[in-house]
Amino acid sequence: MATIVFDQVSKVYDAGGKKLAAANEVSFAIDQGEFAVILGPSGAGKSTILNLLGGMDYASSGRILIGGRNITNYDDEQLADYRAQYIGFVFQFYNLVPNLTALENVQLAEEICKNPLDAAEMLERVGLGDRKNNFPGQMSGGEQQRVSIARALAKNPQILLCDEPTGALDSGTGRIVLKLIRDIARDMGKTVVVVTHNAPIAEMADTVIHMRDGQISEIRHTEHPRPVEEIVW
């Protein structure tokens, strides 16, 4: 069953009287438990899709169905709820709150979720059980990103939405982080959407959505995605 459905979704900006379509009638569907990659160069419109899917922006037209519910008509409060309950967000720059320890950053999930998972346990799962009282400033980029993943998953969301999750990491660390996302999501049955311009990452996806100039140029499904360890970039 498709957990994410984009149906003729457009996002049009008004740029000095000229209409600029950042997303033009985009339609796709991602199934429950799938690992999907939205791929495209910068300016292709993938950030727009990310923003819309993440409940951070409003579509100009079309429908976005998440778990069967149309979120396009949500108001600010409803969108905040949607972000809290449905989306686990992993940022390119980790975005940990610098004044909170690793554990406390993960505990943020408990503040807003109905069914959060245990923060300490999530930290154990990303392999940082012994760093839980450290502040972000005391951790490497890879470690920070793992805390960020733990934080996203602690919310027990339907969808894990990752924005260039390896963008600020070296390739070795990036691979570890991607493997972590892939493995945990598979264990927990989460749908993963990774937005990236980094083509090799697409090789590990079940579904790859290629974007160009605000439109989908190709959607490709793979029965046997490559293991992360084999990917090189």
Binding site: M56, A84, F93, I112
Partner: protein, 772 residues
Amino acid sequence: MVKGALIKKSIEDMKKNRSQFLSIFIMAALAIGMSVGLDTIWTTIDAHSQSFYQDTNISDFWVAASNPSDLNLWRVRNLKGVQKAEKRFTVNNATARIDGKPILRVYAVPSENTLDMSMIMSGKKLSKHGAILDRSFAQANHLSVGDPLTIEVNDKRIDTTIEALALSSENIYAVKDTASMMPDPKGYGFIVIDEDRIASAYGGRKPYNQIEVRLAKGADAAEIQSRMDSIFGKKLNFVMAQTDNRGVNFANAKVIQFRSFATVFPFMFFLVTALITFSTMMRLTEDQRNQIGILKALGYSKKSILWHYTSYGVFVGMAGILVGILFGPNVIGRLLLSKIKNLMTFPVEDMVINISKFLFGASIIMTFTAGISFLSCLKLQNEVPAELLRTKMPKKGRHIFLEHFPYVWNRMKFSQKLTARNAMRNKFRIVVSILGVSGCAGLIIGALALFDLVSGIPKTLYEKTYSYDQKVILDSDTTDRAIRNLNLDGIVQDMEESSVQLTTQEGLRKVTAVSVFSKESPLIHLKDAEGNSVTLPDTGIAMTRKLAELMNVEVGDTVNLKRSSDTYYPVTIMKVVYMPSAQGIYMTDGYWQEIGENFHPTALLVQWNKKDNDFLNSGYITSYTDRTTQKSDFEGNLSAIFGTSLLLIVSGTVLAFVVLYNMGMLNFAERVRDLATLEVLGFHQKEIRPLVLTENIVSTVIGIFLGIPIGKYLAGTIAGGFGDDFDLISRVTPDRILIAAAITLTFAAIVNHIVRKKIKSIDMLQALKSVE
């Protein structure tokens, strides 16, 4: 080209941070405006009065003596240290025979006199038959040069022609008696005539009753004054120093008061200018470390980069100084001076700006704005461009002290923990907020206290101390018996008011007001500083607290009182009473007679059952004033100080707003990325808000509490800076603190509202971007 690009960058940066730079500008302008504006008041009065004294050759002291002989005068002239001594005659109770029967002070002057000259504003020099008339009096009564004027002195008519209109340095503050507080140019003025003209009123013999004395530079005034006893003997009434002249005293008091205001109040604005500049420039340069790196990498010299950042402070500081110097004297100065101008008469009206104080203030502002800008940039100058261009690691979080108390810490909400950690990480910002708020609350408390002090004087005097309806000044011929025979319907209290000279054991001498009335005193209720009633002692005197302090005496001490008959009489201070204004001594009519004086009532206090208009219009009296008029006159007299207190309240609230706004915005700006992240994570507005607003509220509350002692300190300093005539007790009452707190909290709420809107407008997508 290179320079042009940097200037463009400056302008863009300032636009981007306009509220911060506007704040620095406002604070700098207020600091300069307040200090120069308040200074203008006293420098103007000081300069005008000093030059007026000099131009009119004012005496250093006056000796009141009955019919001094030429020998007396000769002996005064020959004292070592006396430069000049002249005689004249003066009475304060002549009537002008025009509508309203106004009272004139008459000076009958030998034509060769050079001391205490009037300053002629129009007309010619005084002839044998003419008169020089008070210009304000002439204007109020529509008299001009050439008009005839008849005055009545000692019940005799003297016909004169007005030859000149003039001002007098002895009458800068022209009030006719101790009951009056407001100059009334229509009802009172001065007139100068030749000594020959007065003779007719006194049986053809030229009368004299005053010796004017001018001292040589460096002469010992006290020593010379003490010699008057032996020279004049029985004839001596009293010696009045220049500073005892009501006008001189009044001008001096205003100088002292406004000098004290100008010193105390602007301090906070200078401090806040420094703090705001510091917080703004620290953040600006911190935000721009990348840009500084780029500029360096592009090859800009260290000097030009330093100047670029220093120039922010220079420009803003200069703009503030410029507006301050224009606004201070022209708005604050003019506004307050206009209120004082109604009270004092000077020949010139231009303002005198205290240039040295302005330059001092301006250099402090420039040091703060330019210096702090320079230093904040200098800090980054020592890093290499590559380091500056590298993304800065997020500030390290740190465990805070509170976490050692798990009982407390574990019970705190998440947002509280985060707020506590943020606060500890940004101690400086918190300190600035608290300082700014406490300064504002303190300033408002101080201003309210000043308001209370000033409005409290007439309240204490005319509501608590006096309970008469009218104070009637009796004609000098009216006897005690005549009054008793009138059987006035009401409570009546007679009193004698005059001046006596007191000398302490230490040799300190002072001419002071003496009030003599019955022990029962139904209409004057003396009190001590705590507000307890004080009755006059049967023997000995009661002295006002401030006078006792000035003369360095206390209860039980004996001072020598100069009697009108002959020499001194030792009187013991039995009680100390509290009078907020008008210091002096009190004694019973019985004791007054015991020391050898006649009790001759000069004033009658009346609380009517039925007002007796016949009496009030009778020949028994020369004038009367309602207590309510006295009270409103007193309030009018202090209107410049009321104005100052309002000005301070307004500027205190501006201070509060600017500080809170800046710190609120700074707090917001520093956290915007965290807030955006939390919003992406699904936090609701109401959950995000407290993270920023709590800090503002807490620092506001702490600031208000710290403002209380600041306010009390300000109030105490102000109370002490009113001059010798005033004895003010500063009281900061809880309701004043509440008002100050309410004003401050209102502004905090407005600022929080603005920040709340800002939080609402956070663009979540900012969270996705890289750290700048």
